[in-house]
C-alpha cells in the first residue's frame, strides 16, 4: 500500500525520460526505441493470450502479418492513408484469428502451441507464394506511403518515435483497465483452472476465442504501424522467430504484467544492440543471458502485482446477502 506511490514516481520519471529521449539520443538509438515500442505493443497484445489466459501461442506473427499486409495492400492499391487503415487492420487480423482459432481453441497446452506455430508458418508460406496474387510473393510489398498526421508527414525516427510510443501508451492505458475488469479477471480464471472457471459460470470457450481475437487485432494494428515505418514489408519479417521473440519477451519480463512486458521488450530488443561490441559472440552471449535471467528470476523479472480492490470503502454489512 505504502510503496504504491513510490512505484508511480518511478514510472513517472521513466516516462518523462522516455519522452525526452529523441532530444538526447541519436537517430539510431531512437530507432532502436521505436523497435522496442513496436515489440512492446506486440508483447502486450500477446500477453493477453499467453500471460493472462495462459494459451500457449507461438504464432502471433501471423496476425501481425495479416495486419501489415492489409495495410500495405489497401494503401498501395487504393491509396488509402495508412493510419486510416488502423481499425481495418485490427478487424481483419481479429477476424482472421477468430476464423482459425475457432476449431483449435479447445486444444490443450503444447498441442495448441504447435498449431499456432503451424498457423504462423501457413500464413508465411501463403505470403511467399503470393496467395491471391496480392501479396507480392517473396518480394513483399514496397512503396507503402508514409503516414500523415495533422498534415505532417512522419518519416524520421524521431517522428515515428512519438507515433509509436503514443500507441504504446494508449495500449497500456486500455489494457490496464481491461485487466482490472470482469473480462480481464475471466481470462485469469481460465488460466488457473478451466474446469473451476466453467463451474463458476464462465463461458471458457467464448473467452478463449475473445482473447485470441483481441490480441490478434492489436497485433494487426501493430502490423499497420510496422508497414508504415518500413514502407516495405516481406514475408521474412513475419517468420517463426518473430513469434518467438514476442513470446520470450513476455515470459522474461513477467507474464501477465504490463510493466514486465515493457521491460521485456527493452531487454530483448535493446540488449542485442548493446552486445554489438561482441561482434560474432553477440548472439551466443544473448542466449546465455536469456537462460541466466530466467534462472535468476523464474517468474520473470517483474511479475504481476496482485489486483487491488477498494475493500475498505465497502462497510461490513449486517445480515445475509
Amino acid at each position: 500500500m505504502q510503496n504504491l506511490p513510490k512505484r508511480y514516481i518511478v514510472y513517472g520519471i521513466l516516462t518523462a525520460v522516455l519522452l525526452c529521449a529523441p532530444f538526447f539520443l541519436n537517430r539510431y538509438w531512437v530507432d532502436v526505441l521505436n523497435n522496442v515500442g513496436l515489440y512492446a505493443i506486440l508483447g502486450l497484445s500477446l500477453n493477453l493470450i499467453v500471460g493472462h489466459t495462459g494459451l500457449f501461442n507461438l504464432g502471433h506473427a501471423a496476425f501481425y502479418a495479416v495486419g501489415a499486409y492489409t495495410a500495405a495492400i489497401l494503401n498501395t492499391m487504393y491509396h488509402i492513408p495508412i493510419l486510416w487503415l488502423l481499425p481495418v487492420c485490427g478487424i481483419t487480423a481479429g477476424l482472421f484469428a477468430g476464423l482459425v482459432a475457432r476449431p483449435i481453441i479447445h486444444l490443450r497446452g503444447d498441442y495448441l502451441c504447435i498449431v499456432t506455430i503451424g498457423v504462423g508458418e501457413i500464413v508465411r508460406i501463403a505470403l511467399i507464394n503470393n496467395v491471391f496474387d496480392i501479396t507480392g510473393g517473396a518480394n513483399g510489398i514496397f512503396g507503402i506511403s508514409r503516414p500523415e498526421l495533422f498534415g505532417m508527414k512522419i518519416r524520421k525516427p524521431d517522428e515515428f518515435f512519438y507515433l509509436i510510443w503514443f500507441f504504446v501508451a494508449a495500449t497500456i492505458f486500455l489494457f490496464h483497465r481491461l485487466e482490472q475488469s470482469r473480462f480481464g479477471r475471466a481470462l485469469n480464471y481460465l488460466r488457473e483452472d478451466e474446469v473451476a472457471a466453467e463451474g463458476s459460470g464462465i463461458n471458457t470457450a467464448h473467452y478463449k476465442l475473445a482473447t485470441f481475437m483481441l490480441g490478434a487485432a492489436w497485433a494487426g494494428m501493430a502490423g499497420n504501424i510496422y508497414a508504415a515505418k518500413m514502407t516495405i514489408i516481406s514475408p521474412e519479417s513475419f517468420n517463426f522467430w518473430e513469434s518467438v521473440v514476442m513470446f520470450t519477451l513476455i515470459i522474461l519480463g513477467g507474464s501477465g504484467s504490463i510493466p514486465g512486458v515493457l521491460l521485456g521488450a527493452f531487454l530483448l530488443i535493446g540488449l542485442p544492440e548493446l552486445f554489438r561490441g561482441f561482434a560474432n559472440a553477440r548472439m551466443m552471449i544473448f542466449g546465455a543471458a536469456m537462460v541466466a535471467m530466467m534462472i535468476f528470476r523464474t517468474q520473470g523479472i517483474l511479475p504481476p502485482l496482485p489486483r487491488k480492490f477498494p475493500i475498505d470503502k465497502i462497510p461490513e454489512s449486517e445480515g445475509t446477502p
Binding site: 539510431y28 523497435n35 510473393g137 517473396a138 518519416r155 516481406s234 554489438r276 561482434a279 553477440r282
Partner: protein, 352 residues
Amino acid sequence: ADTIKIGLMAPLTGKWANEGQEMKQVVDLLADELNAAGGLLGKKVEVISEDDAGDPRQGALAAQRLSTQDVVASVGTYGSSTTEATQGIYDEYEIIQIANASTAVRLSEKGLPLFFRSCPRDDEQGIVGAKTLIKAGYKKIALLHDNTSYASGLATEIRNELEREGVKPVFFEALTPGEQDYAAILTKMKGANPDVVFFTGYYPEAGLMLRQKKEMGWNVPFMGGDATNNPDLIKSAGKDAAAGYMLVSPPVPGDLDTPEAKAFLDAFKKKYTGQPGSIWSVLAGDGFNVICEAIQKAGTTDTKKVAEYLKTQMKDFPGLTGKLAFNNKGDRVGDVYRIYKVDAGGNFVLQQ
C-alpha cells in the same frame, strides 16, 4: 574528423554469415592497404562494419547506426530485400550506398541519386541464362527457384525471356531452402521429363540436389544462376555429381586475371590463408575501391559530388572484377556475366 569513414553493412550473423564475414575480411584488407599507401585526401580511412543479419529490420537498424556515425558511403549488402529496407534511410541522410550482391532489378529503378551497385542485375542474368539454354538447344526446360526474392525474381526473368523465344518451361516451382532432402522434388521433376533443369537458388541446395539426383540415377543436366557460384558447391555435391554443372555468373575470384586481382588475391591469401570463396565479397571490395577512388578524384567527401563523379566521370576503373563504370541509375555497366562449367576435377571452368 581526421578519418574518412566508410560503412560496411553485411550479414555478419544469421543465415548468410559466411558471406558477410568474408565481405568484412575483403574490405578490411583493402582499407589496410589503402591506409598503408597513405589513405585518402591525406586522411586515414576507417571502415565501420555493422551486422544486418540478412534481415530487413536488422538491416534498417544497421543503416541507422551507420548514418549516425557520419559515414560517407556504405558498402553492402548481400540480400536485395535487406538492401531495399535500407535504401530510404541512406537516401534521407544523403549517404552513398553501393550494394555488392543485391541484384534485384527494382533497387535501381527507383531513381535514388546515391544508390549504386558493383554487381550486375538479375534481368541481365536472366537474358544470359535464357540465351544459353536456347543456344544449347534445350526444348523441355525445368525452372526451379527457392522462393527467395532473388531466386524467384530471376526464375521469372528467365521464364519471360524463354517465352519470348517461344519456349514454355515444362516445370516451374519453388523448393524450401534450408532443407537437406530434395528427393521428393527431384522425383517430381523427373516426372516432367525435362532436358535440363535451371535452378536459380543458392549453392547449398544446388549441391544437395546434384548429389541426390545422381544417387537417384537421373542424369539430366543442371544449370544454375550466380548464387551457386561458390566452391562449396563442389564439396557439397561431390566431384562426380558436380561434373558438367553449368552456371551463369560473374567470374569466380580465381578467374580474375587483372593484375589488381592477382595482387589482391595474393594479399588475401597472406592475411587470411586461402582464397575468398565468394565473388560477392570481392564485389564488396570493388564497391569499396570505387568509392575511395571517387572521393580521391572528386577531392571531397561531399556525397553528391562523389556520386556525380561515379556516374559521369568514372570510366574503366580497374577493379578487382574487371573494369567498372556506372550508368545513370547507379548500375554497373558492361557485361559481367560468364558461363562456367564444372569439370571432372571439380573446378569451375570458364567457357568460351
